[in-house]
């Protein structure tokens, strides 16, 4: 009998221990770092400084700049991923030859490392020898090479394209799954009621997709805000900090300026922001369900 009672704990414990070791302790440690002075270039001063790190970070010029960059990137990226994902999902859900073809390749970008997708797209957008410039030149769209990655707006756009290419497939696969559980009878009913294509989409498809769409939006927002690999290989935060989104900023505070206190404070702010966003999304989608 005791064996029966111990079994669930014996199975759950290994997982719980690993997850806890890398959650609870790191979080406490981060909080500890954030309220102490911790600059690696001054190794002997570890005074308790209260909220000074947070104050310094929040009042700094770069913080607001990086927040702005993060917001622009996240809004563009999440919207683009959701639209591209939805479009691809609708295409995949058709009984067409093209859909079958698309179905074979759709998961490929999702499967490869973000670092590699960044390397590929950086090379495509390269201002000196990029193939995009080459193709545009050959077809006569531009008459000289455009430095895509060295202008604020186009550099952001390039990152969004790379991000959408890599993240879109997962959104599409999730949404296709949701599309497939919609009972076909509902479309027949809508058709009989005289609903056209758009109305059927609006009043049958969309309500059914809503929970999944919510999930996709939450997940993609977290991914976009926490983006780091892509910045690392594609732009290094440039040009002029245009792509220095908050995850990258925290990284540079820690590993370039060696200010662990600032880095930890930033990272905690980032964590709270993400948590807040998740709450807002969950609330929005739940309350609409109830209504």
């Amino acid at each position: 009998m005791t064996r029966e009672r111990c079994y669930p704990y014996a199975t759950v414990l290994p997982v719980l221990v690993v997850v806890a070791l890398f959650t609870v302790y790191p979080l406490l440690y981060s909080v500890h770092l954030s309220v102490h002075e911790n600059v690696l270039t001054r190794p002997h001063d570890h005074d308790f400084v209260g909220l000074q790190n947070f104050r310094e970070v929040v009042t700094g010029y770069y913080f607001w700049r990086s927040l702005w960059s993060t917001a622009t990137f996240a809004v563009m990226a999440v919207a683009a991923v959701a639209l591209y994902g939805l479009g691809t999902a609708l295409l995949l859900n058709q009984a067409l030859l093209g859909s079958a073809l698309l179905n074979v390749v759709v998961l490929l970008p999702w499967a490869i490392p973000t670092v590699i997708s960044g390397i590929i797209w950086r090379w495509i957008f390269d201002g000196d020898y990029g193939v995009l410039n080459g193709l545009l030149l050959v077809t006569g769209v531009v008459n000289r090479y455009v430095p895509w990655m060295s202008q604020t707006f186009t550099a952001r756009l390039c990152m969004v394209v790379a991000h959408v290419w890599k993240q879109g497939p997962l959104a599409a696969v999730f949404l296709v799954a949701a599309l497939q559980v919609i009972p076909p009878a509902l479309y027949d009913a809508a058709h009989i009621d005289g609903a056209g294509r758009w109305k059927a989409f609006r009043f049958v498809t969309l309500p059914y997709l809503k929970p999944t769409l919510g999930l996709v939006l939450i997940y993609e927002t977290i991914v976009a805000i926490a983006t780091f690999d892509l910045v690392y290989v594609m732009t290094g935060g440039g040009p002029a900090d245009a792509t220095a989104i908050i995850g990258w900023y925290a990284y540079t505070e820690i590993f370039r300026f060696l200010n662990l206190g600032h880095g930890a404070a930033l990272a905690l702010i980032l964590g709270v922001m993400l948590l807040g966003l998740v709450m807002v999304y969950l609330r929005a989608f739940r309350s609409e369900d109830a209504a």
Partner: protein, 298 residues
């Protein structure tokens, strides 16, 4: 009622759209493949040579054997000398493999055991530990980078496989648990109850009844874990220092951010590095999508 012509037009339009998206997905891969068979001189031209003639294997030869090309003018011998790091690609891929396969195995083993308990058993602490495991995933990686480093250093595991495996397990367990427990819950419980009545223990039931039924879910969970570990960058960058444990993304990021890199060599590296995950995605496509479907179709 719409006519046949309109319907045919619509099909053609949708097919074209499908083809467009397929091109968008494949074009970057195709260009990398082309670059990997080109000489550096052909790529650093405006516009670049779109079809290298004749295609050359020199880039791959150099990565595998270190042999310099016979046609130095075409391959830009100078950038080859500043791209020596690509010779570490094979050891880096080996490291990535060892780490990813270990993470995958541990996920299937411990993940399935724990997920089954969460799905079928009632025990005190079940709800809170399940919630804790899931919520842990919300923590942004950057937020805990320094503490992770401190933990790994304290255990004296810097620059080892074990450190990366441990960290990746903490990252992958939450998803595996969630995914598999949802999957298990949707299997018919009657068969398991029959097995229990016949005197099987919980563990035997899991092994003999649940695992065969849940094979697609387990394959999907394994593939997800493998890919997460194979693709991870930030912690691999942080916790490894030498090629003894450096994984492929760390090495490729180092190669790619070198301003004097040979793009042809880099392209060949990229092609070699994406073969394993691309194969997984192509071969296990059904399992992966079916697994995803099962996990969200409540």
């Amino acid at each position: 009622m719409r006519g046949r012509g309109a319907r045919r037009l619509e099909r053609a339009a949708l097919n074209t759209l499908c083809l467009g998206v397929t091109c968008f997905i494949l074009a970057p891969f195709v260009w990398m493949l082309i670059c990997s068979f080109a000489g550096e001189a052909e790529l650093t031209r405006r516009p670049p040579v779109f079809v290298p003639t004749p295609p050359t294997l020199a880039n791959y030869t150099f990565i595998f054997t270190g042999q310099l090309p016979r046609d130095p003018a075409r391959h830009g011998i100078f950038v080859w000398q500043t791209s020596q790091e690509v010779r570490s690609l094979l050891p880096a891929l080996r490291n990535s493999f060892i780490v990813a396969v270990s993470v995958m195995a541990a996920n299937v083993l411990f993940g399935a055991l724990a997920a089954y308990s969460f799905a079928r058993l009632r025990f005190p602490g079940r709800g809170s530990s399940y919630a804790f495991i899931l919520i842990s995933r919300l923590m942004p990686a950057v937020a805990v980078a320094i503490p992770f480093y401190a933990i790994v250093q304290r255990f004296d595991l810097l620059d080892t496989y074990r450190a990366l495996i441990l960290v990746y397990l903490a990252f992958t367990f939450p998803f595996t648990i969630y995914f598999l427990s949802v999957y298990f819950r949707y299997l018919p419980a009657e068969v398991e109850e029959a097995a229990l009545l016949d005197g099987c223990s919980r563990f035997q039931t899991l092994l003999r009844v649940v695992v065969p039924c849940a094979a697609p879910g387990l394959v999907a969970a394994a593939a997800f874990a493998f890919m997460t570990a194979y693709n991870e960058f930030l912690f691999a960058l942080l916790l490894t220092q030498t090629i003894a444990a450096q994984t492929m993304p760390v090495l490729l990021a180092a190669v790619a951010t070198n301003p004097a890199v040979s793009h042809a060599l880099l392209a060949a590296c990229v092609i070699l590095a994406i073969i394993p995950p691309a194969l997984l995605a192509l071969l296990l496509r059904r399992y992966l999508t079916r697994g995803l479907v099962a996990s969200i179709a409540r």
